[in-house]
Symmetry: C2
Subunit: 349 residues, 2 copies
């Protein structure tokens, strides 16, 4: 799609931008006065203020925030690091953070780690180096959070927590929600239930496992009624693992997938094996994402409001900046089971 008028020259990137010095000169005032007129702090007569503003406009002056921040020792940028932008949960989180930042006149520096701790650490260093006013992250260890906090920058851990002593957090009650959704399965009469999960070392995985186990135990089922399957967190490899699981003679009659990606893998596995949900296999999971209301039957799941988590994280950070000395605290948001059609009593033997 070439420009019909032919390529025009692009203004050279080196093109000098107007500085406050030039604004001051054009308005015939000193630097200090121009600054006061533009920022609104300090005294300046109405007439002069007008003249300065006019000069600024006519020069298309845009203040250099980096210079301003350097001087003022603050910036209006938050650093945000999420595990993986390919996962809809993190996307909703980022969307929530983004809009709440904007509402409060903060810009958002976003990094996504592709699930690698090393990248998270690099992002942490970048954020410190760029002198952001605060950081929100979905931590993979305590290292990034502590590094940032040690450099005097407030951190909010969201989704999971590793450094709850030294920074604030926003999470859901994973144990409770996992309990609820598993309990519903035992109530339906399932006696062999799979948990597909990718990790146990974060608070999320650990607590979802606890909740799962607790529901199994309270139903009076033997410990081996709960079969825990570990998988890497990507759909194809999880799908492969699950096909193997479902091929066993003693396969579970119900599966609890610990997040939306694993749920997708279970769903696809069932499809390729032509296993009917819920008649032959019940499926429940964590995270409520788009496709779960588009497939048939729709999927029963634990809905976490990721957008709200993101917004809350920003609010928490703002609070922390306002009151630095307050002890660290954790906000626990509600997560509720939304019943749809993907679970049913186990098939008769």
């Amino acid at each position: 799609m070439a420009d019909p008028a032919g390529p025009e020259p692009i203004p050279a990137p080196g093109k000098p931008r107007a500085t406050i010095k030039e604004v001051a000169a054009r308005a015939g005032v000193s630097l200090s006065t121009a600054s006061r007129a533009l920022t609104g702090r300090g005294y300046v007569s109405a007439a002069v203020r007008e003249r300065v503003k006019k000069a600024a406009t006519s020069l298309a002056y845009v203040p250099d925030d980096t210079a301003r921040n350097l001087r003022q020792r603050v910036s209006r940028v938050f650093g945000v690091a999420v595990s993986d932008l390919r996962d809809p949960f993190y996307v909703d989180l980022a969307a929530g953070i983004s809009q709440q930042c904007r509402r409060n006149n903060y810009a958002m520096m976003l990094a996504d780690g592709g699930g690698l701790e090393q990248r998270e650490l690099e992002a942490a260093e970048t954020f410190v180096s760029l002198r952001v006013a605060g950081v929100i992250l979905t931590p993979m260890s305590k290292n990034a959070s502590e590094f940032i906090v040690n450099h005097g920058v407030p951190v909010v851990e969201v989704d999971r927590q590793f450094a709850s002593g030294s920074c604030d957090g926003v999470v859901v009650d994973n144990r409770r929600a996992a309990y609820d959704v598993t309990h519903a399965l035992t109530e339906l009469g399932h006696r062999r239930i799979g948990l597909v999960i990718d990790e146990f070392t974060w608070t999320t995985g650990r607590d979802r496992l606890y909740g799962f186990r607790q529901a199994i135990a309270e139903a009076g089922l033997p410990e081996n009624a709960g079969v825990v399957i570990t998988s890497r967190l990507d759909v194809p490899s999880a799908q492969h693992t699950i096909v193997k699981l479902l091929s066993r003679r003693d396969r579970p009659t119900a599966i609890f997938a610990a997040n939306n990606l694993l749920a997708e893998a279970v769903w696809r596995a069932a499809e390729t094996m032509k296993l009917q949900i819920p008649d032959e296999l019940s499926l429940v999971c964590f995270d409520d994402v788009r496709w779960m209301t588009m497939v048939r039957p729709a999927i029963t799941t634990v809905a976490q409001d990721a957008v709200a988590m993101g917004e809350t994280a920003v609010d928490t950070l703002l609070q922390r900046i306002r009151r630095p000395a307050r002890p660290a605290y954790t906000v626990v948001l509600n997560a509720t089971v939304v019943e749809r059609g993907s679970s049913a009593p186990p098939p008769a033997r």
Copy 2:
């Protein structure tokens, strides 16, 4: 989830960070020497370099990039503004941009506009103010791009173009792809085809409409064989509009949805009306997103590789920075129809 050890004090955000001055002092050298040792530019003896580096490490020194950038007149941050993070297409785009930024050691400042031109303009001003090295955006008009370019910051427009004379662009051949997918419909024998679309004023909407019309015309069909339905770009309201369309006696036997959100709306509309796809209604669309391979039948669509578009946009920006004087150019990526099961010959009357 309270910390079992009880809340510890959080390091005060105002906590002073080590500066290069302190590093120099501890190493017993001057500021200049410390700087040279740390940046690697300029002469410094091996012994001194070691001493300085050791001092930096022991002080957990992290250089202030904002100060460095101010001095050097460059930053390693790109500004990115996408229309809407709730739309999976833009998310993939952002993911591609994000990873390519990281590979090239750039940080990404992300803003999402929620589809409002005003927000795009605000983001543009923020980016200029923050002195980013370049901007990538999915423009909603020529205003933002031109504003940024006029301030000497290079811009790449992606997905659509408004200022192709004054900045680079990365797009797909929308006309061609729309033609192909519509042509497949006329070949199947459809004589009444709906185009559901949200705008015609951007290059995307305009070209998709052109391609659609062209295919209708070339099939020798009367102009009114193509029925164009305009809708707002959100699923519920589009769904409403489409239900009305499909309730008409002369309803189309096939629909081309101009993007993934509208496709979702059509799909949901068909479902609520219990219209079988593809037996009673063929559905094809633009954008290839997750759910399209999860519903049955899977959806035939024009697949644009949004991640690759994002990566290409970053590469383009990098090129532009390297060679500012080169005439503006546009990269046109391929977009191909992926046939799945959602289209079939029209039902017999």
